[in-house]
């Protein structure tokens, strides 16, 4: 797998701490929703650092991809990508990587996406792929975030959930809710799984992505609700968090 040069063509803030980076990649071979890339930064003295980031954009043929990076307070690479990087800069990346945590456009079964925080990024690639392909597979997203201001892709998700129900979305707020929100702030629980996910008799495939503790908790709840463990795919990131 070769390193390719990628030019920054767009920068968009998603939240106060997260930024989407649009990249034009030379000879990009294309990707499948859910895959990630390795990004390499090199200092003038030759020191380099590499981190993996999920691709947020849908597969396309124009050589453009987007990644969304959450800034970690003590990160080595994410502060650079979310603060220093400017349109016109060149990065190096290689990929796409990963053949397991992916949604392919020929999958027709109901899909349950479960996101914790920035774990929504690879799931957004699946939602966008589903929408751009005009897939009729029923899609549902349960999205757990700290507070309303921490939601990524807010307007686009709202538009997609309005448009002929391309995806049905349930939000869960863990620290602070919008005003007049019916459910108090807290972790996802049995009741939210019952109302916010496909029933197990539809035999959905589930994709769960987020911090390790979130993924452990969410998958335990899905299994307790009767979901088949063979149909649950997971991607976890540790407290270092630079995977996403």
């Amino acid at each position: 797998m070769t390193w390719r040069s990628a030019k920054v063509v767009e920068l968009r803030d998603e939240t106060a701490t997260a930024r989407t980076i649009g990249l034009a990649v030379r000879d990009w071979p294309g990707h499948i929703a859910g895959q990630h890339v390795d990004v390499r930064l090199t200092a003038p003295d030759g020191y380099s650092a590499v981190r993996s980031y999920s691709i947020a954009s849908a597969p396309n043929s124009d050589g453009h991809i987007e990644i969304t990076v959450e800034r970690l307070p003590n990160g080595e690479v994410s502060p650079y990508l979310t603060k220093e990087l400017m349109v016109g800069d060149d990065l190096e990346l290689r990929g796409p990587i990963g053949g397991w945590f992916v949604w392919r456009r020929d999958q027709t079964e109901p899909i349950q996406l479960v996101a914790g925080g920035s774990g929504v990024v690879p799931l957004m690639a699946m939602i966008r792929s589903h929408a751009s392909a005009g897939s009729s597979a029923p899609f549902r997203l349960l999205y757990s975030v700290r507070e309303p201001g921490a939601v990524f892709y807010r307007d686009e998700l709202q538009a997609l959930s309005g448009q002929g129900n391309s995806v049905v979305i349930t939000y869960a707020y863990t620290r602070m809710t919008p005003t007049d929100w019916p459910r108090p702030a807290g972790r996802i629980d049995v009741e939210l799984i019952a109302t916010g996910t496909w029933p197990s008799n539809l035999r959905p495939t589930s994709y769960v992505c987020g911090p390790t503790s979130f993924v452990e908790h969410a998958t335990d709840l899905l299994i307790a609700a009767g979901q088949d463990r063979e149909r649950i795919r997971t991607e976890r990131f540790g407290a270092t968090g630079e995977r996403k």
Partner: protein, 199 residues
């Protein structure tokens, strides 16, 4: 020729010098798993060695824990780029488990609860290179880290150290396991940075 990243300094420390290429240090213990964590009760747990047609050895938890144990302090390196130095484990050496086996089969497929598999040359798991570990940092190994017991092969990328391990199948030829069939390297030496199958 690498592209220089304008304004990127990076962080370097003396400890980084001990790491394989492309790795960074963490003091956490991140988790990488393909699916839900299985919760395995000790009265159902077993470990078997077979040659693809017949079981050559079988232990339940009680007989397994009567085998001689070792404490192991090693550095571990995950393909997702974190490394953790000086981790402390307790486990049973594969040398003990394979001691009476006379099969002339040079490869092994390790099998886990939850259907995970990973392949290893037998020469990489003998001679004090691999253990079935059941304690980490003095405490029982937590389910999300592979408990009750996981393979520990610290000289290869950590996906080879299969969680929730339940046995191994000896094989005449090398065959890819789970991640090895999904784009990751068949062998996985971190010092040679063997991350991906098509690199």
């Amino acid at each position: 020729m690498a592209i220089i990243s304008r304004g990127f300094g990076g962080r370097r420390s003396a400890a980084e010098a001990k790491l394989p290429p492309g790795q960074y240090l963490t003091t956490d213990f991140p988790v990488l798993s393909a699916g839900p964590t299985p919760h395995i009760s000790l009265d159902r747990w077993e470990f078997t060695i077979d040659d693809g047609s017949k079981v050559l050895k079988r232990w339940d938890w009680k007989s397994f824990r009567e085998l001689p144990t070792e404490t192991i302090t090693v550095d571990i390196h995950c393909v997702t780029r974190w490394s953790k130095l000086g981790t402390s484990w307790e486990g049973i050496s594969l040398d003990v488990l394979l001691a009476d086996i006379k099969a002339d089969l040079p490869y092994a497929m390790f099998r886990s609860y939850g259907d995970y598999t990973t392949n290893l040359p037998l020469k990489d798991v003998v001679n004090k290179q691999a253990w079935i570990a059941f304690k980490f940092d003095g405490a029982d190994l937590a389910p999300e880290h592979g408990g009750p017991a996981r393979l520990l092969v610290p000289h290869l990328y950590f996906w080879k150290s299969a969680k929730w391990v339940k046995g191994l199948t000896l094989m005449p030829h090398d065959e890819p396991g789970f991640w090895e069939s999904l784009g990751y390297h068949i062998y996985g030496d971190p010092w040679l940075e063997q991350r991906y199958s098509d690199q």
